[in-house]
Amino acid sequence: MNQSTNQLVEHFFRHESAKLIAVLTRAFGLRRIDLIEDMVQVAMMEAMNSWKLNGIPPNPSAWIHLAAKNRILDSLRREKTFAKAMALSGQTLASQELVIDQWLEDEHIADSLLRMMFVCCHPLNDRQTQIALTLKTLCGFGLSEVARALLLPIETVKKRIQRAKKSLAGAKVSLELPDDEQLEQRLDVVHDVLYLMFNEGYSTSRGADPIRSDICEEAARLCHLLCQNPCSSPATKALLALMLFHASRFEARTDDLGSVILLEDQCRSDWDHQLIGSAQGWLAQSKCGQPTTYHLEATIAMLHCIAPCIKKTDWSGISALYGRLLELHNSPMYELNQAIAIGESGATHEALTRLMQLKDHPKLEGYFLLDCAIARIHLLEDDTMKAVDSYLMARSKTAAVHEHELIDKKIRKLTEITQDDRTQSH
């Protein structure tokens, strides 16, 4: 009993700070977002100092909301322009307070978060700034956490976020949801930001910092929030399905030491089957007449997730889906993955021809997974020598230690097998 009353849900402070910033910014405007963030931090400090001695109060959210609200109202009372504006608009702090209280109620919080989501993903800023702003404002990440998440120096992140806030406030961006006319376009940007944010966390080339799984979790949480609002589209649901399919394999992709395990070597019973089930549910709900890239990518991810093993995967289905993706968006990554699918389905010769052609693609130059894919096809052809050569080529193209480990393991396995063969034949 004592244990549970002394434990907060995971990421409580992060999420409470995001909620408070969203609601208070909606109430007092983007121009005051810095002040609001400071006051929310002070409220968090107060909570920390009081709770560590006295234990967590029965309703920690309410406690922290009240502390933050009091702090911001205190500092606004001292602000002359604010007093003037209030007088002119005929409002009082008391009426403002009632509004805030209402917005802070559970059933209204999502609305404020959603408005903030559209602000963070405003086309005024570039993609990476949008991601940084989303992590900072909507996920409650600290500056140093955003820097760690995006592998940028903390000063760079700080400057970008400051500049972004300034331009948003300067352009008088409102905290209203986009109108019908703009909604589709603005929603596309939000999808793209959430998709990239998720990938940022999912990419294994970025090392095994636990913050990576936090980013994925946050992207999925925000996407889920968006799905529950009528302004979302079938693409939102498909995007959520895609994230959940990928997330089901999150733990199985690395070993205990943090080195990468490729799909073909992953232990499929380690995949999170509850997440796979939930993803399938969202994908089913996302059906619409015009499938987006999210729909197609999610379907591919599903075919992987429901296959009993690598051999029994529906490779021709996957290849066809990549074909449709290529019609929507010409990306060398889609071509690479389609070639792999073709090889796995048995047409190794055609796969190799395609992969060799891709070697000349400027965007894949120096991409070690291309050589890993070539090695894999050689293996399917039982050509161990060529496979080892390709793995060595892949090794020369990456500098990341855990990627070296991955390739070294592959090579060791192959050379051991050939040595075993030799000893047997002697």
Binding site: N2, N6, Q7, L8, H11, F12, F13, R14, E16, S17, Q41, M44, M45, A47, M48, N49, S50, W51, K52, L53, G55, I56, G140, F141, G142, L143, S144, E145
Partner: protein
């Protein structure tokens, strides 16, 4: 058993929500362990950063008085067999994780000495 005061200074590394939460949890766990084991006789309190100093000439100086590193942030009271044991207890306090220090001081016990 001798009593010791733990004086906490500085708390540099906890400005981000996630860190605050982790840090608070560490403190709560530490306090709970100390109270259950009995050596933490008073969990003490934190101190607000501002205040005032009354000088010898009775003039008043406003805080803050020191760099945040040197600022006393809180205190607790423990009971231990000797200073070495008290230091061991102090080592377990979460203040180090947050980049702060803890000063361990024995109470002089003036009243008892006079009895």
């Amino acid at each position: 058993m001798p009593k010791y005061m733990f004086v906490y200074r500085g708390c540099e590394n906890c400005h981000e929500p996630e860190e605050m939460q982790k840090f608070m949890q560490l403190w709560m766990d530490w306090i709970q362990v100390g109270e259950e084991a009995g050596w933490l006789i008073d969990k003490g309190d934190g101190l607000e950063p501002d205040g005032a100093i009354v000088n010898p000439d009775l003039s008043i100086t406003d805080g803050p008085f020191a760099e945040s590193k040197e600022l006393v942030g809180g205190y607790s009271m423990v009971e231990a067999a000797n200073i070495a044991a008290a230091i061991e207890l102090a080592k377990g306090s979460p203040i180090a994780v947050s980049g702060g220090t803890v000063e361990v001081r024995a109470l002089a016990n003036v009243e008892m000495a006079n009895e």
